[in-house]
Symmetry: C2
Subunit: 305 residues, 2 copies
């Protein structure tokens, strides 16, 4: 092992935006001695090899995980159950299994049951990304200054969690350990609801007449544009997020519905005071986000009206 | 008149983000020989004078517009009716009256009736802004590469419209002439609905428990953050937008509601195909926005998940 390596062998199952960004850091900084990549399609695998993201690559998932100290699953969550079944018999004792899925409780229902007792499961979620996908879209700075949330079950080997945490910190991330169910509730409001709303509103605009649609795009800088970016995220990934975090999403959606109905009623009644009070309250939240260092630097001009 | 001047005397009624940005360009490039500013509060007026945004300033609105070739109204729209009454008797024959309000049809109901026949009304809407407000937040580049929409009534003096258009082009804007009612429908979907949704979702998050609220801010980079920026826009301005563009906003809100209900049903039923199809469709819209040059350059990384 080199001085900088945290793991001898890391295997990536799936190598999209997140996985390829991690692989780029690991390669650049020598955080592993050997990277293996396995994918479902030959094309993606060839792409990953060409991009220099791995030392070896194979379409055989079971073969890919043999001898791996860390298996990092970077596929849509819909594949987790079948991945668990496919790799279970080939994992070496003491191997650490982690993932980067956006919903964490289902990992214990889909992936965990298939795994042997002699491995350590440390689910994770890097709260970072762009609307791009695929191995060519990754870049090593993706995680810098961003949070990665780890949700190991109670009683999991502390050393395994510490090593995954170390890897993320070396990727530039800040790490938070959290209960999986709580994670899913927090992300339902910070991420899943905003994406659902953005997907909806962009769809609503698309259904307008063709003449109107041209102008919607022409004048998108007035607010709509911000929603299009969010609504351009990977469809497979987001389908799986809403299917797996259904209860938490429907819960916050119910609250959102109530609040929207209240504002709608204020508009219908011409109740300017109610609108003003609401808009004043939300302005303070922006300040908190900026104070927490989670804004986009620099704040873009020309962005609202 | 200097060579560069489009107007001899311009009077700004109100001097917030938009007005002060215009005044900065006009001063910098000598687009008028004289700028007068009038405001409701002494503090804002002092601020404008100190910032060098005008040649003369007064709290007396009627006095401020005397001799003006262009009167540019940059206040919240709720003040338009009273402004019309206050300035009507002091406008010189041939004066051009314009504004920067975000809803255009009401200008013909609130402002126009008070104005004398010997002036020209050319309502306008610069589709630009930031979440900041006040004269200190303006900057001369605000309108560069952005649209300004003018909505003169049929039969208005073509020369008056041309001069306002020229002013906006010299501010760096692209100009589109549009029917006022159509403008309000287009903006209802591109701007007003997105803002209403953002205000709602930020409010929903604020109402969660205190523990949850801390985490919502901490992990806001996952999507929520984009909404907080929009929801930090000026409360008075946005109250007036929703009050004045009520019908168009309620109409698009109705469509949005239907679409959201459909997606909600797909989540509840676990209908992954319906979700995937919807998300795939919206992705194409983002491409159109980028092709139209209306995206934020550069596309920020670390922005969704």
């Amino acid at each position: 092992m080199t001085d900088t390596a945290i793991f001898d062998r890391i295997t990536f199952i799936g190598i999209g935006l997140i996985g390829s960004s991690m692989a780029r850091v690991i390669k650049r900084d020598g955080l592993a001695n050997h990277i293996t990549v396995t994918t479902r399609s030959q094309e993606t695998l060839d792409n990953a090899i060409e991009l220099g993201l791995c030392d070896t690559g194979t379409l055989d998932m079971a073969e890919a995980v043999q001898g791996a100290d860390l298996v990092m699953i970077c596929t849509p969550m819909g594949a987790f159950a079948s991945i668990g079944a496919e790799i279970a018999g080939s994992l070496k004792p003491g191997a650490i299994i982690s993932d980067v899925g956006s919903v964490k409780e289902p990992v214990f229902e889909t992936l965990a049951p298939a795994l042997p007792d002699h491995v350590h499961l440390v689910p994770g979620h890097p709260v970072a990304g762009t609307e791009q996908s695929g191995p060519e879209s990754g870049f090593p700075e993706l995680f810098e200054g961003r949070w990665t949330i780890l949700t190991p079950a109670k009683g999991v080997d502390a050393n395994a969690t510490a090593r995954v945490e170390e890897l993320w910190k070396r990727c530039g991330a800040m790490v938070e350990i959290m209960d999986a169910k709580h994670h899913d509730q927090v992300l339902a409001i910070t991420s899943h609801l905003p994406h659902l709303i953005a997907y909806t509103i962009v769809g609503t605009a698309t259904d307008l007449g063709e003449d109107m649609q041209k102008e919607v795009i022409q004048f998108s800088a007035s607010g709509f544009r911000d929603f299009t970016r969010i609504a351009a995220s990977d469809p497979t990934m987001w389908r799986d997020i809403f299917l797996t975090n259904r209860d938490a999403v429907l819960d916050v959606l119910g609250r959102f519905d109530e609040d929207l109905t209240e504002l709608k009623r204020a508009i219908r009644r011409g109740d300017g005071d109610a609108l003003f009070d609401h808009f004043t309250r939300t302005r303070a939240i922006r300040r908190s986000v900026i104070d927490a260092g989670q804004q986009i630097p620099p704040a873009p001009a020309n962005d609202t009206d």
